[in-house]
């Protein structure tokens, strides 16, 4: 808008830069968790995730092969091997044989030990120990080294959290619990709300204005108030804690927004179509099913996305109405909260679990963003 008058503002660059800065600032937290979910526990605890994209210097200690593996070459006893046997490859920066001097030697340097043997560690990680006498003892020589390892990512965390049968903290069961909660809790309120919204938008009857005002009022009633009365009610009628209870609760809590959104949308539909249909002898039920519902698809989609995101991401309603002491029906959000308590520092597990739970909403978000924006614009009370 600044350049309407015909001159390019000097602010343009500042605008681009500050938008870029803000976008990076907003993406950075999510990136951190995303990158971490592809790293091993060792990698996560040895360096910040932002270094994972570049080669890292790591201080590593290993034991060389045990003396039982020595071979005789030209009268010398020799032990050979590579420090990278079990790990990724990398470059040795410097190394040592004592924990007090882990960077005493350069790669390739031949060092004499106290017992007269020599040891050398090459840049590519191979080592060679030579001794005139036989190596003794049962344990190998300790080697400390600083290596530059290239970035490395793994899918093991996801495999462990999703498909490992032995992992009692696996997310697959909770994933299906969440899905089981979400789908009926999204579908049922839409239908109930659509009929009510039609009545509120296109039927004349006394008390309509008051009902609409009630819906607007109920939009903001905190669901915290409903927890105890409804839990008591569910226990009284024998539902107790379980899927049925959580479906009903989500239906009730989602209805005000659903009715409000759909009514606002339906009111805007052209009056002619509906009146023509009435003149042609269509009943209200037919008008609703054959004209209003198809035309209201954008609003239905908007609400469906809202309700889906909200039920998928919900913690409180699930904790109160669904999860009983057996823990068989735990949803992903609750399981993550529990893991934060029991596995506080194990970021590879936490990051993976969080990303498994976030993947579906993010996919829905990017696929259906248009409807989400439209719903937000219609749903904020003007």
């Amino acid at each position: 808008m600044d350049n309407i008058a015909g001159h390019k503002s000097g602010l343009t660059w500042a605008v681009h830069l500050s938008v870029a800065f803000l976008v990076i600032l907003w993406l950075f937290p999510t990136m951190g968790l995303f990158v971490s979910s592809f790293r091993t526990a060792d990698q996560i605890s040895s360096s910040g995730w932002w270094k994972a994209l570049f080669p890292t210097e790591q201080n590593i200690v290993i034991r060389g092969a045990s003396p039982s593996e020595q071979v005789q070459v030209d009268g010398m006893y020799v032990i050979e091997g590579s420090v990278f046997d079990s790990r990724a490859s990398g470059d040795i920066a410097h190394w040592g044989t004592s924990s007090r001097e882990i960077d005493a030697y350069k790669p390739g340097e031949v060092v004499e030990m106290r017992d007269g043997s020599t040891i050398t560690l090459n840049e590519d990680g191979t080592y060679r120990m030579e001794n005139a006498a036989e190596f003794e003892g049962s344990r190998g020589q300790r080697i400390f080294f600083t290596a530059t390892t290239p970035p490395e990512f793994t899918l093991d965390n996801y495999e462990f959290m999703l498909f490992d049968e032995r992992n009692s903290e696996g997310m697959s069961k909770a994933f299906f619990s969440t899905l089981t909660v979400t789908i009926p809790a999204t579908v049922i309120p839409i239908l109930i709300a659509a009929f009510a919204a039609y009545a509120l938008a296109w039927m004349e009857f006394p008390g309509r204005a008051i009902l609409i005002a009630c819906v607007v009022g109920l939009l903001v009633v905190p669901l915290q108030l409903a927890l105890i009365p409804l839990l008591k009610f569910h226990n009284n009628i024998g539902i107790g804690k379980g899927y049925l209870g959580v479906w009903l609760a989500h239906t009730g809590f989602g209805l005000p927004l659903a009715i409000y959104l759909l009514r606002n949308y339906m009111v805007g539909l052209p009056r002619d179509i509906i009146e023509n249909a009435k003149v042609d002898g269509a009943t209200d039920f037919q008008i609703f099913v054959k004209i209003i519902l198809p035309l209201s698809f954008p609003a239905l989609a908007s609400f469906a996305i809202f309700q889906f995101l909200w039920t998928w991401n919900d913690l409180l309603v699930a904790m109160v109405f669904l999860i009983d002491s057996s823990g068989q029906t735990t949803v992903m959000t609750k399981q993550i909260v529990e893991m934060l308590g029991t596995r506080g520092g194990d970021w590879e597990i936490l990051a993976t679990a969080a990303f498994i739970s976030m993947a579906v909403p993010i996919a829905v978000f990017f696929a259906m963003q248009r409807y989400l924006v439209r719903g937000l614009l219609a749903g904020s009370v003007k």
Binding site: M1, I4, S9, V15, S18, V19, L22, V23, W26, P29, T30, G32, L33, S47, G48, T180, I183, P184, V187, I188, L191, I192, A193, F195, A196, M203, A213, V216, L218, L219, V220, V221, L223, Q224, L225, A226, L227, I228, W247, L248, T251, G252, L255, D284, F285, D314, L315, L316, T333, I336, L340, W347, A354, S357, M358, P361, I362, Q369, S380, V381
Partner: protein
């Protein structure tokens, strides 16, 4: 039964039940009860008989049976018993009135039948919604109010409230909630407005907006995990893996347990919600900025206003109503904030908020009275916004 199967059956029963209800209730109304044609005295008489049985007799018996089993004849003298007796009597009286409204005692004309059917139909459409809203949102408000007035030892009065007001944790929650109420809506709106304005005219603005909007899709629990990694602290001699401490240490500070720093930790929790809510503010405000008439801006440019003057003196005043809407909507979210605090600190280290305090009371201390009292405080804080919203909605409808 496998829950997935149970879910499928519930969808089928739920959807089928809804469709069936709407279809058959309309069918019954149009084809049998009040058909769009004249009815003779004989026809209305048989209908009236059937109606008396099905619309009045059987439901009235059901209500009576429900009263006897659920409330009990013995408690008829108590306050609750009388209340429910009045409710039951009201329902039966209503059924009687409804029956007389639907079924005429003499011959009817088509016009009478159609107009009566049209007066009943809206309520058929609305019935499930009204029932669900009444049971799941309206009734709990009054029930919570009732529970909050009954103390543990059965006294009726404000005992729970005075106990709660004597608790230091409650005042901590109130103070923190007020902090949240000031900081989060303000910061989210400011950031949202900033992003909306900056991205308004640049080519990749939509992609930038999408990225900033994305946290909306992430659960508060997921966001808490994300931000816990940012605040992660490790001993001084080990490399920091939380970015905040990494920067702090690089600048020469000691690693901090950010979430345990008194008072400041509240702001670190608020950052999570600001991060989530900015996208929302941005989307709404961006649409509002687009809606500003070009002429006003052009006139300002012609008059020699600089970009900052245009923004603060021309644009912001015009979108003020939208800013207020965004502000109040975020305020509502903030009042109910629970997941973030529950997940990240669980109200320890001086970060308690009302919703988490209430959860503590209800489900950890099993003190339903005090918990309900805390819920009523949240309701009280929401009420001004409720009234304001309702008034605006009514104004708009006229």
């Amino acid at each position: 039964m496998h829950p997935a199967l149970q879910g499928l059956i519930t969808i089928i029963i739920g959807v089928g039940g809804c469709v069936g209800y709407f279809y058959f209730s309309n069918f019954l109304l149009d084809k049998f009860l009040l058909p769009a044609r004249a009815l003779s005295a004989e026809q209305t008489a048989t209908r009236r008989q059937m109606g008396t049985i099905f619309l009045f007799g059987i439901p009235a018996l059901l209500v009576a049976a429900l009263y006897v089993t659920a409330v009990g004849v013995g408690s008829i003298a108590s306050v609750g018993g009388i209340f429910w007796l009045l409710v039951a009597a009201g329902v039966i009286y209503g059924l009687l009135r409804l029956k007389n409204f639907v079924f005429a005692s003499g011959p009817t004309t088509a016009g009478r039948n159609i107009s009566h059917a049209n007066m009943i139909r809206p309520w058929l459409f609305l019935a499930p919604a009204i029932f669900a809203l009444g049971l799941y949102l309206t009734y709990p408000v009054f029930e919570t109010l009732r529970l909050s007035l009954i103390t543990r030892n059965g006294n009726v009065g404000f005992g729970n409230y005075s106990y709660m007001f004597g608790e230091q944790k409650f005042w901590e929650a109130m103070r923190n909630n007020m902090l949240w109420l000031i900081v989060v809506p303000a910061m989210s709106t400011v950031f949202g407005l900033l992003v909306a304005q900056l991205t308004d005219r640049i080519a990749w603005g939509n992609i930038a907006k999408m990225m900033i909007f994305m946290p909306m899709a992430i659960s508060m629990v997921g966001a808490s995990v994300i931000w816990k990694l940012i605040y992660e602290a490790r001993p001084i001699d080990v490399e920091q893996i939380g970015i905040l401490n990494a920067i702090w240490v690089a600048m020469g500070g000691e690693p901090q347990q950010w979430l345990q720093l008194p008072v400041w930790n509240n702001f670190f929790l608020m950052a999570v919600l600001i991060w989530i809510q900015t996208g929302f503010a941005m989307v709404i405000l961006s649409a509002a900025l687009r809606g500003i008439p070009e002429e006003t801006v052009e006139a300002a440019i012609v008059d020699g206003a600089n970009p900052f003057q245009i923004f603060f003196k021309i644009k912001v005043p015009q979108i003020m109503p939208t800013i207020v809407v965004v502000w109040t909507t975020i305020t509502l979210t903030v009042l109910k904030v629970f997941d973030i605090v529950f997940t990240m600190t669980n109200g320890q280290f001086g970060t308690q908020v009302l919703a988490n305090y209430m959860y503590d009371k209800l489900f950890r201390a099993n003190d339903w009275g005090t918990g309900s009292a805390a819920a009523m405080i949240i309701m009280l804080l929401v009420t001004p916004i409720l009234v304001w919203n309702v008034r605006n909605a009514r104004k708009e409808m006229r």
